[in-house]
């Protein structure tokens, strides 16, 4: 909105993200961030089970958690809230999350180029040295159409979160 843009602040931005849409529904919470990383938490929820008979979180919400933490780590690293779209996201599950445990996702953006951002991270349920999953992903930055200030059609791939181009 304002012309003098403040540096992207994941703690502040989370207040919006965690109230709206899919992230809000999951109840994602901000935990911490550094120069190039963001840590979010997915609280335990009974209706997110992957199987009826085991109190273990489905893997889908973990993808959502890591996708969201990925996007925020990129904005944090770049310092601005440019539109990005997930191109490729891979999650390797080392073990199921503990029963009734919250899952913490920590993702770092280890490289940005003009058009891409590369992320990696872990999900754990209390002990970062014993991860539930590792994640690796590539995101594309979407150039704005200078005529409209909007995302051009065609490059508008599915994204983790609000890319905030309004």
């Amino acid at each position: 909105m304002s012309s003098s843009k403040a540096r992207f602040d994941p703690a502040q931005a989370s207040k919006f993200f965690t109230k709206h849409g899919h992230s809000g529904w999951l109840g994602l919470r901000y935990r911490a961030h550094g120069e190039n990383w963001v840590e979010l938490e997915l609280p335990w929820r009974e209706d997110l089970l992957g199987e009826e008979d085991r109190a273990v979180l489905a893997s889908g919400p973990i993808v959502s958690l890591m996708d969201m933490a990925s996007g925020m780590s990129i904005w944090t690293t770049k310092g601005d809230f440019t539109p990005i779209a997930t191109l490729d996201l891979r999650v390797d599950y080392q073990r199921p999350a503990k029963e009734c445990a919250a899952v913490i996702g920590r993702v770092e953006c280890y490289r940005t180029t003009k058009s891409a951002a590369f992320v990696r991270g872990i999900a754990h349920d209390g002990d970062p040295d014993d991860p539930v999953a590792h994640v690796a992903g590539v995101f594309m930055t979407i150039d704005r159409d200078p005529r409209q200030g909007k995302v051009p059609m065609g490059q508008d791939a599915a994204s983790s979160a609000g890319t905030g181009d309004e």
């Binding site: 849409g21 529904w25 779209a85 390797d92 599950y93 599915a158 983790s160």
Partner: protein, 140 residues
């Protein structure tokens, strides 16, 4: 391959996570279950578009549904454990009904490799694809 009266694809029971997202069975493509989800705030990421995680959730559930269908037809009932999922995002998920179906690329005794596609208006233009590796553990 049996001419059973009940088709495992049709009798599919979706897990709590799928039902919470609003995913339901749409029908069959060949002999595989097609899952569907409508657009709602529950799956919204960027305003007016699917959240990448919700898209992955639909793909994952369609993959599991495909595998369960084949296993039931073979009379098997192992516990399924995800090894990994790789999702490719090809186009924005817009505010439309979205569908997904899985294909079993390889079914072994311990491992299954499944390819899943999700689409909206045009079956020939997927908005996202996924590959899942799932470990099958026999129940004691």
């Amino acid at each position: 391959m049996s001419d059973t009266q009940s088709d495992p694809a049709v009798d599919l029971i979706l897990p709590p996570y799928a039902r919470a997202l609003g995913i339901s069975l749409h029908g069959l493509e060949g002999d595989m279950p097609v899952l569907t989800v409508g657009f709602s705030s529950v799956i919204e990421g960027r305003p007016g578009a699917f959240h990448g995680g919700a898209t992955a959730g639909l793909l994952e559930n369609a993959g599991y549904a495909a595998l369960r269908t084949v296993l039931v037809r073979e009379g098997r009932n192992p516990q399924l454990k995800p090894v990994n999922i790789t999702v490719q995002y090809l186009a924005a998920g817009k505010q439309k009904q979205t569908y997904a179906v899985g294909r079993i690329t390889r079914l072994g005794r311990r491992n299954a490799n499944i390819a899943v596609e999700a689409w909206q208006d045009d079956r020939g233009r997927p908005i996202a694809t996924a590959i899942l590796n799932i470990l099958m553990a026999e129940r004691d």
